[in-house]
């Protein structure tokens, strides 16, 4: 058993003896155009059945909904007006200034302190679309993997987290264990089909892996042959980048600094901090607003980080129960 929290190399933790560098994504949402090529490529390559019933969800151009058992890339669309853009810029600026020393009276402006600088970019739009391709985070401390009772979920030599369909028993514990709501038990891909589409759907192939947990494998099969994952390969704007995790984090840091220098203080990284609640994520994102705007948790924490404490508390509770039973039998026959 490796560490349950804090910075670590998950591949080493999982006792892999190879020296593959950890692989990961960097999804730069500032250049995402919402084309959904990643969603399509992912479905095609992984033979994932359709989710839902081709309904319009009334959420801008997002009719996919969310990540799930059969949707391993999900492009979020958010429409924002001027007010919300200003708020995003402000919350990003606060993040830049976070931790800057503030002792004593206001001092000389710090060259890195952007709070007083006029950083209004020349072309502030009064409307914007946020588009972001979400994916499994392949956490350093993966809640799903930790709680899996069968060993179906495992850490690959690339540091990613993958389900073995033939080992999974469909218990569903991982679904509740994921702080990002990524992994899901597959029911079946084509439930509740409208009557007039019946014939069309009769031709659909049988849904594979019904009843077992499914999620992004970071195209494990492709990685084994040195191929780029399908989504990154298909992305026309290089919004989805793939490579060594270290390089991805480096690229992300350079990109966010570049955007800040242009006055786009709303840009921020998500998952690039190994001190966060999941030990950093394998999939790093550059976001242009608070994470919850994209449906991401603002302060995720892998539940297993607290597991030793939970076991201790349960131990005390068990001792209490035994004590209560002992007391109940003491004192002879009442």
């Amino acid at each position: 058993m490796g560490q349950l929290s804090g910075p670590t190399d998950p591949t080493v933790d999982a006792h892999w003896e190879h020296n593959h560098p950890r692989q990961g994504f960097f999804t730069d949402t500032s250049i995402c155009i919402g084309c959904k090529a990643c969603e399509v490529a992912c479905k095609e390559w992984n033979h994932n059945p359709r989710d839902g019933n081709l309904e319009l969800l009334g959420s801008s151009y997002d009719n996919t909904g969310a990540l799930g058992a059969s949707t391993w890339r999900h492009v979020a669309f958010v429409e924002q007006g001027q007010e919300r853009i200003a708020e995003a810029r402000e919350s990003g600026r606060a993040l830049v200034n976070l931790g800057m020393p503030r002792i004593g009276p206001p001092s000389e402006p710090d060259p890195l302190d952007l709070s007083e600088v006029d950083t209004t970019p020349p072309d502030t739009p009064d409307f914007r679309w946020l588009m972001s391709s979400d994916v499994c985070k392949h956490c350093t401390h993966a809640g799903c993997l930790d709680v899996c009772p069968t060993g179906a979920l495992f850490r690959t030599e690339f540091g990613t987290v993958v389900v073995q369909d033939d080992v999974c028993n469909g218990c569903g514990t991982c679904v509740a264990g994921c702080p990002f709501g990524v992994i899901e038990r597959r029911s079946d891909g084509t439930a509740a089909v409208a009557a007039q589409r019946e014939e069309q759907h009769a031709e659909h192939p049988a849904v594979p892996n019904v009843g077992v947990a499914q999620k992004c494998t970071l195209c494990y099969d492709r990685l084994l042959t040195d191929e780029t994952p399908a989504c990154a390969k298909a992305c026309p704007t290089t919004s989805i980048k793939f490579g060594d995790h270290e390089d991805m984090v480096q690229t992300a840091r350079e990109r966010v600094a570049e955007l800040h220098a242009k006055g786009l203080t709303e840009a921020r990284l998500y998952g690039a901090n190994e001190l966060d609640g999941v030990g950093g994520t394998g999939s790093v994102f550059l976001l242009l607003d608070e994470p919850e705007v994209y449906g991401l948790p603002p302060d995720p924490r892998v539940p297993t980080a607290d597991l030793p404490r939970m076991y201790r508390r349960a131990g005390v509770a068990v001792a209490g129960m035994l004590a209560a039973a002992a007391v109940a039998f003491l004192g002879g026959r009442a």
């Binding site: 009772p149 603002p298 109940a328």
Partner: protein, 323 residues
């Protein structure tokens, strides 16, 4: 002063996913508790010379754990899927630990209960020479089952606490105390129904202790949880179930203490206690599922704790960073 967090979400869609568990799992939480508590009562009866209490508690334990296992397997879909969990032992997985606890508990419970069934049937089970073995093993088996009884009652609390489901996770410190108390009062209630009052005194005491533990642990849990994450415990169906659970527990506990020497009062109080425990399990279970369906329960407590850490000067552990 921590600023009030604002709440935004992605079209109101949930951030985390609820466990895909049906009522079978809630039933298992309840029956596992009943089984665990009954095994303890069985051992108590065994060690203090209360043969009727011992017999009834052992049979109750076997019945409850068998029905519980059926509920569990029903949720998994196929029996071999349970066996799939016994391929490995993973201490980081409360489900894995629990499957071993359940197996170990069932072994001892089955041996001690079969010995009782054999005696009840006038030694008519076709055991042959195995009868001697069974009779020699039933005492140690009762002890073995009792060893795993507490863990059986408590591990399900860890199973729920060790999830990203907001209400369960927020209660992870106290949930084990709620669950063992609930197990104690339920099994005591069942013994008060099955066992004549002359031998049921320990059950009455255990019931009273269980009720006190249950009410106190639940209150402490609710107070220590993030208030937003605690909301589902008070609202809707879950809220109603938990409210009635407390009422039934208190009524059953008082009944056991004040009128437990009357067979009818004892049985009615026992029923109330069983009902209270079932409602506790269903209420906590349901509240958690509800909390996973509304993004507010995930986002608000997280924003609040992040802001609190920042206000305390801890600024290096957020998932969102400027560089």
């Amino acid at each position: 002063m921590v600023p009030e967090p604002e709440f935004t979400s992605y079209y109101g869609r949930p951030v985390v996913k609820p466990a895909p568990w049906g009522d079978d799992v809630a039933i298992y939480l309840f029956l596992g508790g009943v089984a665990g508590g009954s095994a303890l009562l069985g051992l108590g009866g065994q060690l203090t010379g209360r043969p009727t209490l011992c017999r009834n508690a052992r049979l109750s334990a076997l019945t409850a754990v068998s029905l519980g296992a059926v509920a569990l397997v029903k949720d998994l879909g196929r029996p071999e899927r349970f066996l799939n969990m016994l391929r490995t032992f993973k201490v980081t997985s409360p489900m894995s630990v629990g499957s071993w606890i359940l197996s170990a508990f069932s072994a001892g419970t089955a041996v001690s209960a079969v010995a009782e069934i054999d005696r009840l049937s006038g030694m008519r089970l076709p055991l042959g020479p195995l009868r001697t073995v069974l009779q020699a093993a039933e005492g140690p088996a009762g002890i073995e089952a009792a060893l795993f009884a507490g863990p059986l009652a408590a591990y399900t609390a860890v199973l729920l606490g060790d999830t990203a489901t907001p209400t369960w996770n927020a209660g992870h410190e106290e949930l084990p105390f709620v669950f063992v108390s609930s197990a104690a009062l339920a099994s005591a209630g069942l013994a008060m129904i099955t066992t004549p009052v002359a031998e049921a005194a320990p059950a009455r005491k255990l019931a009273a202790l269980g009720v006190v533990g249950d009410v106190v642990a639940m209150r402490v849990m609710e107070r220590r949880m993030d208030p937003v994450a605690a909301e589902p415990l008070h609202e809707g169906k879950a809220g109603a179930m938990l409210k009635w659970s407390e009422r039934l527990a208190v009524a059953g506990g008082l009944g056991a203490l004040l009128g437990g020497r009357n067979r009818v009062v004892a049985a009615v109080s026992g029923l109330a206690l069983l009902g209270a425990s079932a409602l506790t399990r269903f209420g906590v279970f349901e509240a958690g599922l509800e909390s996973a369906k509304d993004p507010r329960y995930t986002i608000e407590p997280q924003k609040k704790r992040l802001a609190a850490r920042r206000a305390a000067g801890i600024v290096d552990d957020a998932i969102t960073t400027a560089k």
